[in-house]
């Protein structure tokens, strides 16, 4: 019975879980070690993926299928929209709706995928077995595994997808633009107190993001600090009592749909109603699909965070 409910949880939580891995990450962009400059030769292209495998292509990929929404977003942002041959059900709002779907991001229909004749498939790096990767490689389709946990991963992924799609220049300028915007935001909050901020990854059970995740790094860029710097999990389960004890100044609440209604609903629940942030109106509903973007969109996410954490700076 427990197993059954776990299975159910898996199904219903699939989209959230898919977004969540994305939130596992740490140090911010600026200080990461420089990647070796991609040297695209005319002959062959190669890049090492996050599983440590080297993926080699004879030429820049022209028929890419991305199973990871963050990679899809990145590819579109570097101008490779025309090189995409398919999409998953989770690629929403990035302008790829007309492409044929291959189903789920983690359990795509393999034959649909193969039938679209991709010359590169970009997918999640999964812990342990990855049957999708194994089957595709058997058939001779290159599979590039990505894992975006922190902002360093985001920049690294932008760079490598640029190499694989033959768009290193666009990738470099996209990365530079994101770095610039993050630096601007960081500068805008300089000298202001970092406000204790709690991001609600899930409310039942209560979960937040670990301090090494992109989400928390962006929160720090935006002039906040996580209420749970001691979190070790991914996601981190948090007890309501501890949250009430720590009284975050600001609460970020990723929602899909009516944010105001969601805040009203939460504010009457036990535990939640003890949080001062509800009385001081410092609970901010943010669109969930923006919050967990793990591509060049992190710049907008950071701005959204900054405007929530330091509303006095908003719309400047």
């Amino acid at each position: 019975m427990i197993l059954d409910s776990a299975r159910k949880l898996c199904r219903t939580a699939a989209p959230a879980l898919i977004a969540a891995p994305v939130l596992v990450l740490p140090a911010c962009g600026g200080e990461r070690p420089a990647e070796p400059p991609p040297a695209p030769s005319v002959q062959a292209i190669s890049a090492v993926d996050d599983a440590g495998d080297t993926v080699r292509l004879a030429a820049p990929a022209r028929r890419i299928i991305s199973l990871a929404p963050s990679a899809t977003e990145t590819l579109v942002a570097i101008g490779a929209r025309g090189q995409l041959a398919g999409r998953t059900e989770y690629d929403v709002g990035v302008g790829v709706d007309v492409l044929p779907s291959v189903g789920g991001a983690l359990d795509p229909s393999l034959e649909k995928l193969v039938a679209l004749r991709p010359d590169l498939v970009v997918g999640w790096h999964t812990a342990g077995a990855n049957p999708v990767r194994d089957r595709l490689r058997e058939i001779g389709i290159p599979f590039f595994a990505v894992r975006t946990t922190d902002t360093t991963d985001v920049f690294r992924t932008i760079g490598r997808l640029g190499v694989l799609s033959g768009r290193t220049r666009e990738a470099d300028s996209a990365s530079a633009a994101v770095r610039r915007e993050l630096a601007e935001l960081r500068a805008s909050v300089a000298g202001r107190p970092a406000r204790s901020t709690f991001i609600v990854v899930g409310d039942e059970p209560l979960m937040t993001a670990g301090p090494w995740t992109a989400t928390i790094q962006l929160m720090e860029v935006a002039g906040g600090r996580t209420t749970f710097p001691d979190a070790k999990g991914q996601p981190q389960y948090v007890s309501m009592e501890e949250l009430v004890r720590r009284q975050p100044e600001v609460i970020l609440l990723p929602v899909s749909g009516d944010g105001a209604a969601r805040i009203r609903e939460l504010s009457t629940r036990p535990g939640w109603r003890e949080l001062n942030a509800f009385r001081t109106r410092r609970v901010h509903a943010l669109p969930v699909e923006q919050v967990y973007l793990m591509g060049p969109g992190i710049a907008q996410t950071a701005r959204l965070f900054r405007d929530a954490i330091h509303p006095e700076l908003a719309s400047r």
Binding site: C10, K112, H125, A127, G128, A129, P131, R135
Partner: protein, 327 residues
Amino acid sequence: MKPALRLALLAALCAGALLLSVRLGAVRLGVREVLDALRGAGDPTTVAIVQRLRVPRSLLAALVGGALAASGAVFQALLRNPLAEPYVLGVSGGAAVGAVAAIVFGAGASSAGVGLAAFAGAAIAIVVVLRMAASVGPTLDTRILLLSGVVAGAFFNACILLVLTFADTESFRSALFWMMGSFSGATWREIVLLAGLAGPALAVLFALARPLNLLAVGEETAQYLGVRTERVKLAAYGTASLLTASAVAVSGVIGFVGLVIPHIVRMTWGADHRFLIPASVLLGATFLVLADSLARTVAAPTELPIGVVTAFVGVPFFLWILRRRGA
């Protein structure tokens, strides 16, 4: 109809299901294209889809369906309990603990590694449950065995939840997907391994059909009639459990087949195990092949979890059989 004729009919049904399942899929292919691809002719992409994806998947579904149904039939006979099914003695729980632990703690474990861990977990569960039951009283009491299985199952579920609590999001996802069961990763290697194990195991179960017939009536009766009950029970439990363990190791936990298929066969054609076991194998294989075809095509390209289809199709059918029998 003679039993041999019935079995031939069921075999034909199973073959038909296999052919249909190779014809159907998320990608529309004509009969001609499929036939060409089976011979390795025609478009290489189509050949890859048919030979590397569809055929292995259908064959694996057939093997798992047959194994689970046979195992279910044997458990129902041994435990003399209509609710018995292949997982009732904690095999699936043990397998899941093994697989989940491999996924969560064994960073980078391959598909084969996870399968092996699942099999090891199942084997440990079988031994633990049997020993637990055997330690009470001079003979293996089926009621005690059933209780041991249920208790062990609950304990394994607790272990899974404990491991998952400390899993990161990535492993959590992989572990849950494993537990839902799927044939999408089917490989020829898995098919060969499962066939290699299931073949001898099924042969043993077929050979035990007569003593099982007597055991299903009652242990005392069986003993009076010369059955060495303890040995038969042990052999049947061990074999059926191993059969289940190997099926779970390659495909995850797929419910319902092992419970309902033997009942359907029994209600339709009677409870002679000489017929019941082989018929369950064939019908179980047919059922799971068709269920997997539906899972792949109904909402294509999204794949439904196979357990959803087995229950959605199986439950109404089962109810219909029950009512027809009652009338």
